[in-house]
């Protein structure tokens, strides 16, 4: 027999005058293979036309529909109601700017992070459009690909207690991004530049190892592996920097 699901959804529209944050309750008949994304659509169609939430791809690629589902930050489109209890609590992601109801602005934070980390390939090489592409070995390409799979949904940052307290902290997404460019042989940034960028208390040493990012990442990125790679790189990197200083 189909279950009747109870949705308790956080509602607040900051643009509406006199609107207070509150919880609205909705009921919905469960249908086979129902996911939360579809469930939210149905609620909006029939019960609450002003319900705000983000979605684009409904396939776990765009990272828009991340929200706190029963206390866990994850993607609504990849969550089946069959895996959840009869009561489902939905809250917007913490940390990010609330746009309204379940919708948050992750874009500004990610854009800012990308600018701080200068998240592009730094190279002094002149681009020659006629030259044959440089080859990269498969292992390197795979490592870059693994980090590049990040969809910027913001779940890792929302789950991170450090990020909640230190808003400047790069977070798992930021450190993973640094790792992606460190792996890349085309990026010519040297040890010292990386060192200044991430060997800080808002960089890799800001992480105190609560591992929630690794637990909640909907894309199963190898976050902890990237962090400890960066950590050890920073630990040995300073040696190089000091030796260089001695020589000059």
């Amino acid at each position: 027999m189909a279950r009747t699901l109870t949705f308790k959804i956080f509602r607040y529209n900051p643009t509406k005058e006199n609107d207070e944050p509150h919880i609205d309750t909705f009921e919905l008949e469960e249908t086979p293979r129902l996911n939360l994304f579809t469930a939210l659509h149905r609620i909006r169609e029939k019960q609450a036309p002003d319900l705000m939430y983000d979605f684009v791809c409904r396939a776990g690629i765009c990272g828009s529909c991340a929200m706190m589902i029963n206390g866990r930050p994850t993607l609504a489109c990849r969550t089946l109601t069959a895996d959840l209890a009869d009561t489902i609590e939905l809250y917007p992601l913490p940390f990010f700017k609330l746009l309204g109801d379940l919708s948050v602005d992750t874009g500004v934070w990610f854009h800012d992070m990308a600018k701080r980390l200068e998240s592009w390939i730094h190279t002094t090489k002149e681009f020659d459009p006629t030259a044959e592409e440089e080859r990269m070995d498969n292992a390197t390409a795979n490592k870059i690909y693994e980090s590049e799979r990040c969809i910027e949904c913001g779940c890792c940052v929302a789950a991170c207690a450090t990020a909640q307290v230190y808003p400047d902290f790069l977070g798992a997404a930021g450190l993973n991004r640094v790792g992606r460019f460190m792996f890349d042989p085309r990026d010519t940034r040297g040890e010292q530049e990386w060192f200044e960028l991430v060997s800080t208390d808002i960089g890799v040493f800001g992480c105190i190892g609560m591992m929630a990012c690794d637990d909640v990442c909907p894309k199963d990125l190898p976050l902890l592996e990237v962090f400890s790679y960066i950590r050890r790189k920073m630990n040995s990197g300073v040696k190089v920097a000091v030796t260089e200083m001695d020589l000059t």
Partner: protein, 262 residues
Amino acid sequence: MTGIDTELYPKAETRHSQTSSAFKKAKKALRDERISGLTGAFLAMFIWGHLLAESSIIFGKETYNMVANFMEHTIPMAQPVLFIVTIAFFVHFIWASRKIPGKLRDRKRMLELGEKLQQSSKGWQQDPKSDIKLRSHFETSLWITQVRTGMIVLAAGSFHLVLVTWNLFSDMGYVGQAIGYTADLTVSRMSSGLWILYSVLMVSVVAHMAIGVYRLLVKWFADTWFVRNYAKAFFYLLFTFYIVLGTITILSASGVWEGLLT
């Protein structure tokens, strides 16, 4: 992603100044991290040995006296180790506590997130039959536990260190006793009520140590073969072993099971 090829790391190309404030700041952050991590690792290893040595009371007073005599007189290592550990203890407190948010509001925020975050291992599935039950995120709560036990260890451990320093260099007025530790001294003190304080200290220190080792291993070695799951297993092993060992030791030393295995 194990065994990342470090050859891939681009060659140094210094564009920034070695004396820049960013570089100095980065060096300081690395130094701070090394100090807190290394003192933590040292103290953890000390605790492994310390609790093993103390557990000799399980085998009776003679064994305990033998171990104490060996470490204090045959090879006088207890005295310098005490000195080094005392320094490491306070250095570790100062450097490790820099990560604890200063404001009560921030600490509450952390606690709230740790408690509200659904227990969420990668294979997480909520039981569809049960209503929502929010359980704390394990590793986030572990860190909060570590902060709390750290404070207990700071208070109870300071007392312990003062007491040990006093005992190690005096005969405590016991007639016919040598300077330093003896089983009689330990047993009489423990059974007179100090077992309460030592029970609290033992549980706190073991929890703090096991969690610290787990986090240290994950932070520095998650990309080697020693992945998070191994570190977690090691955490459970350390915690269980030393809690059991510590409990039996305290029971023996406070006279409940005098010389349990003799």
